[in-house]
Subunit: 308 residues, 2 copies
């Protein structure tokens, strides 16, 4: 069974959407990536940090899904990273109400011994130096390094970001961030510029407008599944990345054709994530649910034109 | 050979984009729909009106493409409809600088005798009463009536729009207009409400984000082809509609499965339209160009997941 190591946040989120409001619930990029990857027969290890206030039951839930949590450091005297946000009516934009970094402020990820030879490494959205420190710990070059980042790091740590990007195979980024990083408005040209920075594969996430995969001139597009109701978009991007990495780890096939499938699986899982608050839907998700929705994706995108 | 009758504008456009600026060039929804449909073996008749200032060479160009222009009334003492617009840097928004309705102000479309039994009618974006008057002239119920409209008519002639919609099979509309017409934010719910108004098929155009086809719970999605440069978006939506109607007229197959193909052809042709100013690219487009790009659409969207 392939190993996937994921570094990211494990956090408390408090979320307000037009549909309701939560107290502190389980969140964090590492959590969403891990839960998505747990849909595949893969050994997934999450590397993160939480405080003494973090319920053991959350870790037990992750373990019950087959997620290895040895790499989640528990700082007894510290408090868990907390984020609170409010979504606007269109669900495409949100305001951050509270960000308490807490134990994340001094987070130095330690990859468990047993995961230092993982085939796939997913570097969640953290300081580029922190991301690089994970790669430094690997005993052999992973088959695939996937990195997620955001405009914040481009603003305050661009040199560090460029430096870690040289060691990365796949970058996942949203459309505005791709434009900021590349200085190009057209996403086709943006991908070209980002290839020159290191990543052979550029995945541009466009939220409700789907995702694009670029690989030196080759392109693939996966739509988001149109839904009657998007209940809570939190974690959808991380779930997408987790589905992508999990599928690649399971199939052990890093060809462009198989990456297309991985992108579809990412969209598939993300379409569930948004149906309930936080990780709720992902916790109860069955493999039958995923299979059924895969058929919905086929109906949505596959056509049969005979070229005469 | 199937007949397609198109009612729409034949106009002068003056366009400014970040790439340059044109004098008065050939434009109009009827023109773009007709040119797109001319890619298929179909008898296309355009019903419109122009002024005495409209060059005969434009009509000759259309005739040379097999487009019947008998239905284009020439008001010798009048001036042709003129629109001028300026696109912003993102190419997704534009300002209208000038709208001179001229001969369009008193336009009463007359369908040529030979097209009154057309299989497919495309009602371009005009006053809903004008659109209805075209249907009144048909000697038999067309197999398919396609209607395009915009927010302007929802604002000033909503009752008339509702009235003509009862006689329509397919509506093409952009996402914001779908939301305005239905009062629903989710496009899935918007399509449901619009089905109740008449159209069994709802095509929602999202510009660079592609197009969605809805049919009572069934959905299909065609992306726009990601391009390095969008030179001039004018007419892309009409070209999309023309490709859709032209393909359906040629294949004479109105099943949902074949409508998927029609949507892909619409996106395919629209991706050429934006490559040059106005109708320039559409005038020189060869069937080989279209075939080659169809393969690009397949590469972009088709995948092969074995569900185990």
């Amino acid at each position: 069974m392939s190993k996937l190591v994921v570094v990211g946040t494990v956090a408390f989120d408090a979320i307000e959407t037009p549909f309701g409001k939560t107290d502190k619930i389980l969140g964090g990029s590492g959590t969403f990536v891990g839960l998505a990857a747990s849909q595949f027969e893969v050994k997934t290890g999450v590397v993160s940090v939480v405080g003494g206030d973090f319920p053991a039951s959350y870790l037990e839930m992750m373990n019950s899904k087959g997620i290895n949590t040895e790499g989640i450091e528990i700082v007894k005297e510290g408090k868990t990273f907390f984020w609170s946000g409010k979504y606007h009516n269109d669900m495409n934009s949100r305001d951050t109400l509270i960000t308490e970094l807490n134990v994340l402020e001094t987070f130095a990820p330690v990859v468990p011994e047993n995961f230092k030879d993982a085939a796939i490494v997913m570097l969640g959205n953290l300081h580029p130096q922190t991301q690089a420190s994970v790669l430094d710990q690997m005993t052999k070059r992973p088959k695939l390094v996937v990195l997620d980042t955001m405009n914040f790091w481009m603003d305050i740590a661009l040199d560090d970001l460029h430096s870690v990007l040289k060691r990365v195979d796949v970058i996942t980024i949203n459309d505005e961030e791709a434009r900021q990083l590349s200085g190009e408005y057209s996403l086709v040209n943006a991908a070209k510029r980002i290839h020159e920075m290191g990543p052979k594969y550029v995945v541009i996430k466009k939220g409700e407008h789907g995702a694009l995969l670029f690989n030196h001139g080759k392109m693939f597009y996966a739509p988001a599944l149109p839904l009657a109701e998007v209940f809570d978009p939190t974690g959808a991007g991380d779930t997408f990345a987790g589905g992508f990495c999990g599928y690649l780890a399971k199939t052990e096939d890093l060809s462009f054709e198989n990456m297309k499938n991985a992108i579809i699986y990412g969209s598939n899982l993300a379409s569930f994530c948004v149906e309930k608050f936080g990780t709720e839907r992902m916790q109860e998700l069955s493999s039958d649910d995923v299979k059924t929705r895969l058929n919905a994706f086929k109906d949505l995108t596959q056509f049969d034109i005979k070229i005469s």
